[in-house]
Point group: C2
């Protein structure tokens, strides 16, 4: 049923907007598919899995992966990081009494009334530590994930006239959610216009994702027009994924806790915005969309980001307390295994490995993209997503990213168990 509904939505967008935008985040449909196909509709027992939270029933999350089960690598679900946070103990634990932060307001006299001052402070501290973005002279905004801030930026950058909707573009392959999120409300303010490389209109908003989701490429804006505006999606501009080569200083830069520390369920992103009026319009969007952002998540994220900074600045534990070093080590090992498996196979290829000097770790390092952008060279396989699904590996096919179906995007951020099962299956495919 959910799958049917999802497909219906695709037709609806296409009919309404003339865009062959697939609904990229068809999570509910996928969940039902997995449950029905592989778990026979059960999986709703109250076991809980023995997590340590004492005060509330824990989230069920995803089922454990076994050598025979389906492996869902469709989303960049960053569960790889759990191993790090299990070791941090109380340093990353948040305690919120019942009477705390009940008001809508976080800082009624501040620039952004729903931004927790403690969260803002840790965001600025983290960027100064890592050196990946300029913070002086920037407004910090908070959103329910960077997805909400992306929509807030579209709203802020679209003109207030009665003219045609602003075109929104990104070079293919582009993040599969951009078309669907831009178009789902059929807004008169902005409209998805596809691949930036072939755009020939007068003005547009360009989405610059670097490192790029899905292929890990390092990107600059390709639209040179003076009237064009760029939104820099820096979800993955962290040292575990790519060398830090400069403190970026673009007009609008989006970040997310999900991909930095692994806390996707906290649904917290932030934006660094140079222009005051643009920032004010983004605040207005979030007021109207959700009347601010969860303070519980902001308090927790402040604690988490603070623990990351403390791990570098004040901790005596050495390597064990350094998140980016832990995560980079994990990613390097995974990429090494993946490249070996792909080399052993004769039907897949990957983008070339890149390297550069990283100002954070102070040596030349390779990139370790959060996704493998896998291409199948085997004759007759034009739908790699479907081919892998037959082997119980769930990935996201190239057509959702604006290219052909010989490509798939595979998450590199899941648990060790899921990644290792993926490696075994991949090596067996000929």
């Amino acid at each position: 049923m959910a799958g049917k509904e999802g497909s219906g939505m695709v037709v609806r967008y296409a009919g309404r907007l003339g865009v062959v935008a697939s609904v990229a985040l068809n999570l509910a449909a996928l969940a039902l598919y997995i449950r029905r196909r592989f778990f026979g509709g059960s999986g709703s027992g109250d076991g809980g899995g023995g997590r340590e939270i004492a005060t509330v029933e824990p989230s069920k999350g995803k089922p454990l992966v076994t050598p025979d089960s389906v492996v869902n690598l469709d989303h960049g679900d960053p569960t790889m990081y759990e191993a790090f946070w299990r070791e941090t103990g109380d340093r990353a634990t948040i305690v919120i009494p019942g009477c705390q932060t009940m008001s809508y307001f976080s800082d009624v006299g501040g620039f952004c009334w729903f931004l927790e001052p403690g969260f803002e402070r840790e965001v600025r501290r983290l960027h100064r530590l890592v050196g990946n973005a300029v913070v002086d002279g920037y407004h910090v905004l908070v959103g329910t994930g960077s997805t909400q801030l992306f929509q807030a930026a579209l709203y802020a950058l679209s003109p207030a006239t009665d003219g045609a909707p602003m075109s929104v573009v990104s070079p293919a392959p582009y993040y599969s959610s951009y078309p669907a999120v831009t178009n789902f409300l059929n807004s008169g303010l902005y409209r998805w216009a596809g691949d930036a490389n072939t755009f020939d209109g007068d003005t547009c908003i360009e989405l610059v994702c670097s490192p790029n989701n899905p292929d890990g490429g390092i990107r600059k804006a390709v639209i040179e027009s003076k009237s064009g505006k760029a939104i820099h999606d820096f979800a993955y501009y962290w040292p575990q994924y790519t060398p830090i080569t400069e403190a970026a200083g673009h007009d609008i830069m989006l970040f997310t806790v999900s991909k930095c520390t692994g806390h996707a369920g906290t649904r917290l992103g932030w934006a660094l915005v140079k222009d005051r009026e643009v920032a004010q319009k983004m605040i207005k969007f979030i007021e109207l969309n959700t009347i601010g952002v969860s303070k519980d998540s902001q308090l927790r994220a402040a604690k988490i980001l603070g623990a990351v900074c403390d791990g570098y600045e004040t901790s005596l534990d050495g390597e064990a307390s350094r998140l980016f070093h832990f995560a980079r080590q994990q990613m390097m090992e995974r990429w090494s295994k993946l490249r070996a498996a792909v080399a052993a196979s004769d039907i897949f290829t990957l983008p070339n490995e890149l390297s550069n000097y990283c100002t954070f770790v102070k040596e030349t390092i390779t990139t370790n993209p959060p996704f493998a952008w896998l291409r199948c060279e085997k004759e007759g396989v034009k739908d790699l997503e479907g081919f892998l699904r037959e082997h119980k590996i769930i990935t996201r096919g190239g057509t959702k990213f604006g290219v052909d179906g010989r490509f798939v995007r595979v998450s590199m951020l899941d648990t060790d168990e899921a990644f290792n099962v993926f490696m075994d299956r991949l090596a067996s495919l000929k």
Copy 2:
């Protein structure tokens, strides 16, 4: 600056849509106004106010109210409830270790993949305790406040054809956010069409808010057409505000933690939805808008709602642990003071007091609406909001609710200090 931007937005809506919709939630502008007008731009010191949270810098919230300061009763900021939650101790405290709920998924095999099972369980338990809504046979959905769920419902109920946008109506006086939230993205799916009493189109979505924001009226849908669809906004259908007269069983019913327990900063609402396909489309909206809802807020809300139920079902503390009785007592005292102050003045009137048998408290009780819907009878005062602002009382004027400027809406849910200053000032106005 922010005020200027806000006004610009009003013109933009009006120009684009032909609607004289004011931006109801102009919080940033208000915050700046208060700061500049009454605090001289300071108020950003790091004092903190001595709250008890040990692990992160506390939210600054709103400044303390003194007899000379501005009193901001524009929003229904439910800080009145803090006094109750200060007494609950650990029963309402949430502890979240760093490694908890990191995944995007709460329940991959469930109907709503981002809904924490513990939160759903407490929602159903609370409705069974209070008896204000049917839960059997309903899907429970979670949103970033009921504001997000309202938009999700508009998305789900609007037709998937290429025709004109669906009309959205509500009888005046209607909640001031409805027009702005419906129109701010200039969606081709739905469009604000004003007062339901004067609507003469073929089909529409009717927003039924009961008890009604702003005037506390008990409402039923007024559009009888078979093709019309209703969204029931039950933010205030709780025993502290109104007698519970039935377990409501409408197609879509929206609730929010903010107005039930006072935790506005948690930004958590829920919907009870009868139809499976409608619920699936609402889930899809939340996937695309914010990729789910903060798990930290869901865990906290589960704890809070559980503490409310425990207070009635298992606690030995008696009255002190019964939230709705505490809140109803507070509201009764405030309404008694307000009616006395209005009677003492000769320039204001209020809606008549209503009463009915409440199945929850099992006696006949009066309504205690969350807002005072104040009308000024004094000659020459056509802008009551402006008149009260001159006396440093910030309220929301009638034009934002679709009626004339002789009315204002005043929050009854703020702190005792703010309410008492309001009472003193009101009694002095002749």
